[in-house]
């Protein structure tokens, strides 16, 4: 096996040194009846050539990966500068562990410190952690944190949060003694329904919303914050399309208490849904309630600045069942990629990406909204996603569009909402050319004529 340095002969010698007669004897502490008697029934070893051919073959059957696409809904096609993937392949980064030994981990530690700073700058918050698994689990952890902070057990969640995120919250809180209440959305605006906010009360730990929400509609965070704060609840804001930070008022500037986001938009490949990157930011006063790792500044005896993992007493390896979270391994390398992305793009680039997304989406919305029989049911301001109502069943229409026009036109809402058969969610980013948008509009028109 070419990954194992010691040759069979060397291993035989080492066995002798430790006083064993055979490799089998290494496992003498395992009761004999538990020992496997035959090799595992997994595929025979492959050479590089064979293995690559196999994965190219499966990749070839992922047809969606080769098509112009307007899928968004929590995973976005953004351009990633070439240097991002190049730099994360420096093995000093990708073959290191969590930086437990700061003297020989300053590279990773400084990256995380920069990452935390960038997340604060984007979200308008005061502290951010070293990452969570993804946006959905970050949101679930935010709910749990709100409970810890407020010691209240009811959490009100808007229905316009990503349906899979809602499912994850439900899973996480099911044994935590937290009662979830769902908040409807306004049929005209697509935003969280103001009327439904009456669910908020003195027992409420948090109001949870997403903005832009699952339908692409931008929520009125200021107003929601006011309502939440008026009953002493926290406002948790979730962002699935992190590119929107380049244009939209940061939740931190609108009164959010915890901001979580999916950071995949920052240069991370789609990769069929993961690994992605949970961003988690909050107010300084809640720093000791934050889940996950934190890196802070420190000095050595000679006064040289360095960085260390800090406030570790929140964490499971010290606090065990009383920890703020069970998270240990997080998304380090993805946080590095996002850090490189953000530093490469800089403020100008982050703004330009956001602006191009919004502009192209506006153009697409005009084009599609102008097709006979198509409407855009929600009228709230949007960033780069919007719901389209087709004159016929969306799923079938999108399948034909893929088959006949080679375009993935968006996400049929029926995947999550049985009651919305004709609606689909269209997402446009800076990577969608005008030609693609035109082809989409023409395809939709032609297939419904």
């Amino acid at each position: 096996m070419r990954y194992i340095p010691n040759s069979p002969d060397e291993r035989a010698e080492m066995l002798q040194v430790v006083g064993l007669g055979s490799a089998e004897e290494l496992f003498s502490s395992i009761p004999a009846d538990l020992l496997l008697r035959a090799p595992l029934n997994t595929p025979a070893a492959l050479s590089e050539i064979e293995l690559l051919a196999g994965f190219e073959e499966t990749a070839g059957r992922n047809r969606a990966a080769r098509r112009p696409s307007f899928l968004g809904a929590g995973a976005y096609s953004h351009y990633s500068p070439t240097i991002v993937d190049h730099l994360i392949q420096r093995s000093e980064f990708f073959t290191a562990y969590t930086p437990y030994q700061p003297e020989i981990s300053q590279g990773t530690l400084q990256v995380i410190f920069e990452f935390q700073t960038l997340v604060c700058q984007l979200t308008g918050m005061e502290v951010a952690n070293a990452s969570m698994y993804d946006g959905s689990t970050a949101l679930a952890e935010a709910v749990l944190m709100a409970e810890r902070v407020t010691r209240r057990q009811k959490v009100v969640v808007s229905e316009s949060v990503h349906p899979e995120y809602l499912e994850v919250i439900s899973t996480y809180v099911q044994h935590a003694g937290i009662e979830l209440q769902r908040l409807g959305f306004d049929a005209a605006t697509g935003q969280t329904a103001p009327a439904a906010l009456s669910l908020l009360d003195e027992r409420t730990a948090a109001l949870v919303v997403q903005s832009p929400n699952f339908f692409g509609c931008i929520e009125d965070i200021n107003a929601l914050a006011e309502r939440a704060h008026s009953v002493g609840a926290l406002l948790v804001v979730c962002v699935t399309e992190a590119a929107s930070f380049g244009l939209l008022r940061p939740p931190g500037a609108s009164g959010a208490d915890i901001v979580v986001a999916e950071g995949q938009s920052f240069g991370i490949p789609l990769s069929f849904g993961g690994p992605y990157l949970g961003l988690f930011a909050t107010r300084e006063r809640y720093a000791r309630q934050i889940p996950g790792r934190l890196v802070g500044e420190a000095v050595d005896k000679e006064g040289r600045r360095g960085f260390v993992l800090t406030l570790a007493t929140r964490e499971q390896h010290i606090r065990r069942e009383k920890a703020t979270s069970n998270i240990c391994t997080n998304e380090g390398l993805i946080a590095l990629a996002a850090t490189i992305y953000l530093e490469t793009m800089g403020p100008t680039g982050v703004r330009e990406v956001a602006m191009q997304c919004a502009q192209k989406a506006a153009y697409a919305a005009r084009r599609i909204g102008g097709i006979e029989g198509f409407t855009l049911p929600f009228n709230a301001p949007r960033f780069n996603e919007f719901i389209v109502r087709a004159p016929s069943e969306a799923n079938a229409l999108l399948s034909r569009l893929a088959a006949e026009r080679n375009i993935t036109g968006g996400l049929a809402l029926s995947r999550y909402y049985r009651d919305r058969p004709n609606d689909f969610l269209v997402c446009v980013t800076e990577t969608n050319s005008r030609a693609e948008i035109d082809a989409l509009a023409e395809g939709l028109a032609a297939l419904t004529r």
Partner: protein, 509 residues
Amino acid sequence: MNSTNITKVTTHPTQNEALIFERSQPGRVGYRLPALDVEETPLDELLPGNLRRDDHLEGMPEVSEVDVIRHFTRISTWNYSIDLGLYPLGSCTMKYNSRLNERVARIPGHANLHPLASEEDAQGALQVIYELEQHLSEITGLAGVSLQPAAGAHGEMTGVMLIRAYIDARDGEGASARRRTMLIPDSAHGTNPASANLSGFKVKTIRSTPEGLTDLDHLRELCAVGDIAGLMLTNPNTVGLFERNITEICRIVHEAGGLVYMDGANMNALVGVARPGDMGVDVIHLNLHKTFSTPHGGGGPGCGPCCCTRELEPFLPVPRVIKDEDKFRLDFDRPRSIGRVKAFFGNFGMMLRALAYIQTHGPEGLREATEAAVLNARYIAHGLTADYDKPFEAPPMHEVVFTDKRQSRKGVHTLDIAKRLIDYGFHPMTIYFPLIVQGAMLIEPTESVGRQELDQFISAMQGIAREAAENPELVLNAPHTTRIGRLDEAAAARKPVLRWKPREAASAA
């Protein structure tokens, strides 16, 4: 400060590098996008002013592409990494991260696939998931596998939630209240109790015996109470010993109406040799970022598959990937499922790598890796016994624990030994874990290191033992050769500085 018997490393200049924020210069640019190719909508029409950010993202760094390249290249050189040598963090399985697997994960047809692509358009990815699940099932001897959890702790949470759901379904109304206790050995990793707690369990701690194994009597005693939902056991346990009573342990728990969860972080000692399912284990998580070599990445991402018996399978997270004739489908219709633990399907990029690992090794290679890993640990155990206190007699599996007992007589503790190892050119072992061993040094070489480097490590440790006896100051003040010395962690935690701030803002604060 360099001892003359340090042969593995030499000092050499590394570039200093400020925080990127301190390097920023107004007007520098590192990117270029194609020009906008659609008619522009006037800004106020696009978005009302009150919804737009008005801080110009101030404080974000402005640098050129070259600046970024130099920034990260420079700071990368301050890291130790597997590619530089032995990285013997016990419990972490720092084995070789194959470049082939990195390449596989970057094949465009996989890397550019959207998770909400239709099933027909994602057959290749669904097949990858399906096949990896099959192989992990074979390796663990457990029928059901979900790849959704993003890391080990996430897999633990998923696994104990399965136990909760299964017991609730089995015992009906009130079961949650009646059976709330999760037994966890005092040697367990912190994620175990934290995950149990997150899933609503009350944690009770089981003692370990002086031999380093689960105390059967204590287990029986705790089981007798009648409130147990289950046991979370690491096997080989965190002191590197195989729980030789595992069958008996499972029997006791099962008879008490509980289920057995196995923390699979140490599966590198077992793959191809023995299977948790055959031992009576009901649920296990794996760490693909340990046993199956997906890179740790300085702290992640991971992938923590949860494998379980056929009885528990109905409770696994949705969706499942199933095979229908020769098509792969997503099955969302699992009414007894505990629900989703993560959006989409888990860390797919890690699954590609793990599948490549399994395919590259083949059955013989998988076993060979296990043998080589255990042999390397045994070799270190043998090499260090003369100089260090080995708290447990039994021969270790893939990792071995020593303590600072002898050295501490001279005031030299585990932390000091670890720091001195850095001067000798090695990343330290895991220290002060597990908690049951005072001054623990948990050493896991993995199979990815050759005999010569093991010998270097052993002689470095011998050298430190000598220094601790003859010149303890040298060890106490280590490391001496690194670009930065020991950092004042206590001060850092007292007044945490968790982000950079512009000079004015920082001094104002």
